[in-house]
Symmetry: D2
């Protein structure tokens, strides 16, 4: 039997808290899961620093990847024998679902920003490069790995296949919303996925939703909205992200200025040089990062060791609402005052802005255009979701941004009362109300 | 206000997936949670290698410790103003609950066995030694840290206090059963804790259960039974434990025989020498261990790098049922055949035995005597649980043991067919049925 | 001890699927629950005919009343010792919560419309009249029953007390959303009530929500929105309501026109005469109604027995979208055609319109003014919810209406093809698309 | 297309709180559900009087019947294409599952005992008699109704088919345990049904369980055990059953002794005469019974109206532990004392005994022999469950019985203190401890 058609003797299952069971019958899927590049995802948390806010959120990307695979498996089970659906694409979809996050590294958000990386680029490299994953995919058929990579890259010609993995209501989002809700324990993130799966219909180039399922989709979009603001953009999590970024910045700066590390940052050198090859990249997981951060607590550089201590022991920065666009003068004054007080504002005075667009209708030609969700009406006509749903219409296309200013409250309070800058800093940060609004 | 009485301005909560919210009002508890020795528990998984079997089980001991604290907080809330209960012990109970697992290191089970350590010993050291935790506890009152240590050590004079933390139905067990069930996703581990808390009554020297709550306790004991056999003793998890132990053994052996490591095992040296002081111990968490295991994949020693690769990439040993007491001859023959085939049986042929006693009645004077659970009948008489419950009686005092033999199926199959040992090994392991029973 | 202060020896609990346990400690509450007028609520379903659509929705108003009581109990537990809160009002609040729906009869919606009744009027009568409930309340203190009645009637002077039971985020709504979701099994209706209860704060004349809890309130409002459109206004349920109303209309009409019933409608006579006294009212519950409807299946009047058969055996009317304001001509034509075909349009051609206002800001002076929800900002300022929440703002003050036309598809199809009206009726109802839109 | 093969255009679903969705695709099933005899099950509660103890337990047998159907549907989906399984039996299994409880009447337990009825007999009659159900089944193929009846009657030749509906681990039990747990809200009743369905295997004449699923089955058996003792045999529920039985007895007695009822018990006459035909039987549902009980509250017969008032208003009997076999003398003395005090012991002094056998191994030839559960070992050998599971072995074959004595505490306390019997009755019932054990 051809490798691509090989089935396990007995279906294997993974016990999954979110989908109850993840079912595997294809030998190819089983082999991909066993590949070291996929097992590596066990050592990368799905939500980076979020566990410092929600202690349950310690789940890995391995977890999520299996979940996305399982959702696509169930969708395709429903699609079997439907018009428009070509069952030959089944294995391709399953592989793309399983592997779509393969290129994520530790704390991707901060690492990508500081070191100018892109996890999607590495996903492509792992699939196409000299890896176990690549070997397995090519065994399916020569060129199959390229197809998988293209689906994930959204360049694959069959847009219906692409839309299963990447759209405004794809398996990726449906898994992470539910999974992140489960592990954080928040009560958002619930929606009737079983119903959504039942009303999904493949048409030429996209998956659409039967209009009778509209309310389940509304619920999903509201879940997404709440998860973004309640979990993903939680200000405490962002405080940890801010410190993490500053550690990376500082280490890079020290490296570039020939500081002598007690613990030589071997795993980081190619990152500092911004020349990361695949082998270097694959070696870096969260335990490695944690190893360095722990040992850097004993470095002589005060900023590096202070920031590492903060990160490891969760002594985070405090924050206030602060809009840099509207408060430029205060910002400049604070910056100067921090310098005066001997607290380097490059590392200790940080604005972080988060923004989200909960749902977008179609704006062709615009940057980051997103495929909207279409409802299929009883007469088979398609209707863009926000034209039919009052709720979705209300939040559609509206970007919301949140700005916060982060700083080390403890350091400021330890400043001598003689320090002329201290009083003014506290005044600016805490306002008249004696700090009621500092969190 | 005395430090011990200080309350936070506003109650703080942690969102917890198992108990919904963990509530903190006491400044002391808040400070203990923030201490580095407590934050370190974030880097130690509650269930060690279980996540290689149940991928959701990535939760940390930090998680569990908060949970035990919360359960005790709820119990004490119910105890307020009850006869027999001295509310002055409240803070002591809360601290002991929070800190009871403080001395756990990475993969405690294997580390303790290989390096002859005892996490309870380190719990005592962290509480009594030169640590942030100790300083905070002594601020409550001089000698308070010793009290906390004694409660955890079960030597504290007020046995009622001890029994909240350590008994056959203590807060520790109630938390971990539910928590481990939640994160693995298994359907065992559920019982009506709210009811059990409502029927707990303090008497002189123990917590007893009103007889009307007996069935909830039965359910709890059955949950425990199922969790042990379905989750904690899962044979795949034990396979990972076996490999982990063998890595530690091998590294120790190499160190003792002056092998030159490419990556010098600095963090491990005091462990190899079996002279671990508190500072060394606290530095070792799972990310450090993972760092070494990853780098040891590149060591020259074949056994060390093979075992590390297996552990990191989850290429585990397979297993069969095997009772070494009854199959001594087969064992000796296999041992010899493995040597003959060039596969070191010290590392690659391992029997693991797990056993559990689901519930025990009282056997005074015997080793490991356990306080039984007492029911309080309507007439205030006490009755030992197993005398009143048919189900508990049925499993009471019955130890069950499971023996498995672990081995690397892949290595055996790679042996040349010319190897005279191969055929006989396979025959012994797989039996006539051609391997049907190998897992 | 005064009756009002009497406590049960031991707290009693009701096992409740929604709130886990309902706790009762006050003798007064215990006695009220045992009163026949309260026990009668067991025989009145919370959701009338909804169980014909969602078969799980068979729960009674007894169920819901206990739930509202329990929520208020929890709120008041949090309010204890807070500024603005007068703990003397506690028992009053609990009684009002428990009894707020006492005046509901069977299938209130239809009965009230057909017989021009008002359940709130009967709630007042039961509390103030010659009933067990009244006797119990007056034992608390003379005039106490009037206070309870006033709170439920929203005329009680302490508006803070009123707002617990009747506001846009009261205990009533919080219970029924969760309870109805639980029993129907839908995935809407979930929100983090525990968090909402934690952020509720009493001020002078209302309960406000700490702004940190805004998202939980958003979630609650979205739940409400979804429950209205997905459950309460489900078109199949409304079909059953339509038939039920028509049965009542027909029976009244027959009574007024001196039809001789085989089963004399003794229980209904005062209803038909629109002179219902309290004793008559209390005697009518859903089993009595069901008794009549079953026996009326054997009446000679064709319309009455047909409608009763439909209701008992769930042979409901079908429906199409139909807006009577915009389709007046079609309506008139259909009406005439039905007459022509010998199907009485008074009973067999019915428009039902449902509308809901998911949340309303304050419009003083307008009919049905509703108290808006206020957030308490960190600086103690109050802010109306829709000014702070994008989502709520989006749906605020927007009334949505749904119109459907109901008719007996089976009867129409049984019409002889010779009947000249038949073709035209089908054309008008089913449109060109041959009935695709008929449900 | 043959009627038996007809499929609905679009799959229909029922939202079900327990199984999420019940799926219907076969026209036959759809028609059976719509039949009046099946719709009648909506008016018969699954758990009779249990809702007087657990107020959530108001769900109907309609609910449960759909659930059993759905479980069988899922089992058969897994069986498709398996050896031993004949897919031609599919529709037969589904119909038998759906209809297996069709003959239940109101409060079956008491009615059957008092009037010497048997619901299974009526199930057969409805399926074979002149009913809509029969007509539908015969449309499938002549004789099909007999096959369905035989499967339910366990006389069908293919025992594999029978065992799906009736065995110690059948779809019936799996549904009711979960459903009753859901609606009562108790925490028992949970087990991993999804796993059990996955490990069920058809063999010649029974369904067996792969041994890897043994623990899920243990959990199921423990659930059953707990549900029996915690819910089904709850002493308060039995108190209501006792009163209900006594009402029926009294009414029958009055009828037989030519008492003149104000409300003539027309619906009951054939029951009193123990000559119930199908038409009479089908007319009696719980709303009819409730109608009579309410009106009988106004009968002159004191016993009848007192008992009816108790039942409708939940003024139940109290109870103590009492073993009639061992306490014959007390029993006789109490009986005499009740007579002396003018309280008829036939109606007011009642012993109720409940017993359950949680699991039974096979005892061929004995009365009520039950097919045991068989595990299929890896080598395909069958092993009876209790030989492999310690827990099951422990409770296997052990019948447990609970005896309680019920009496009206209120009536006794209202006796004049001069009544010489009063003091002695109270002494016997409450013991020295002044009533501590009376519930």
């Amino acid at each position: 039997m051809a490798y691509k058609d090989e089935q396990l003797n007995e279906e294997k299952v993974f016990k999954d808290p979110v989908h109850r069971y993840v079912h595997v019958k294809d030998r190819v899927i089983w082999d991909l899961i066993a590949a070291p590049e996929f097992q590596r995802l066990r050592r990368i948390k799905q939500l980076g620093t979020t566990n410092l806010t929600f202690h349950g959120a310690e789940h890995s990307r391995f977890n999520h990847s299996l979940g996305v695979y399982e959702i696509v498996r169930r969708i395709l089970y429903n699609f079997e024998n439907r018009p428009h659906w070509n069952d030959d694409e089944r294995l391709l979809c399953l592989c793309a679902a399983l592997l779509h996050d393969l290129g994520h590294g530790p704390f991707s958000h901060s690492f990508e920003k500081v070191f100018k990386l892109d996890h999607e680029h590495f996903t492509q490299q792992i699939i196409m490069g000299d890896t176990h994953i690549h070997t397995i995919l090519e065994r399916v058929s020569p060129g199959f790995s390229k197809k998988v990579a293209d689906v994930i890259d959204k360049t694959y010609e069959d847009k219906l296949v692409v839309s299963l993995i990447s759209s405004q209501i794809d398996a990726d989002r449906m898994d992470y919303l539910q999974r992140d809700a489960y592990f954080t324990g928040v009560s958002y993130g619930h929606f009737d996925m079983e119903r959504i799966l039942r009303v999904m219909r493949p048409i030429d180039d996209q998956v659409v939703i039967k209009s009778s399922g509209m309310h389940a989709v509304e619920d999903y979009i509201m879940s997404r909205y709440q998860m973004y603001w309640q979990v993903y953009f939680h200000p405490v999590t962002r405080s940890a992200e801010v410190i993490l970024s500053k550690i990376l910045h500082r280490a890079k700066y020290l490296f570039e200025t020939d500081y002598t590390f007690k613990l030589k940052p071997m795993h980081f050198i190619s990152f500092f040089k911004e020349k990361v090859d695949l082998a270097d990249y694959l070696k870096l997981d969260e335990s490695i990062v944690s190893y360095y951060f722990q040992l850097w607590q004993e470095e002589d550089d005060e900023i590096l060791h202070d920031l590492c201590e903060r990160f490891m022991n969760r002594r985070l920065f405090k924050y206030i609402e602060f809009n840099p666009n509207q408060q430029m003068n205060e910002w400049m004054e604070l910056y100067r005052l921090f310098q005066e007080a001997g607290i380097d504002p490059e590392y200790y005075l940080v604005v972080d802005s988060s923004s989200d667009l909960p749902y977008d209708f179609y704006r062709p030609g615009e940057e980051e255009e997103r495929l909207p969700i279409h409802l299929m009406m009883p007469n088979d006509e398609l209707k863009e979701l926000s034209r039919h749903s009052d709720i979705v219409e209300a939040i559609s296309g509206k970007k919301r941004t949140d700005h916060k200013l982060y700083f080390p409250k403890d350091l400021l309070e330890e400043l001598s009362d003689d320090c002329p800058a201290k009083r003014r800093i506290l005044e600016l940060l805490y306002g008249e109300g004696a700090g009621n609004n500092v969190n």
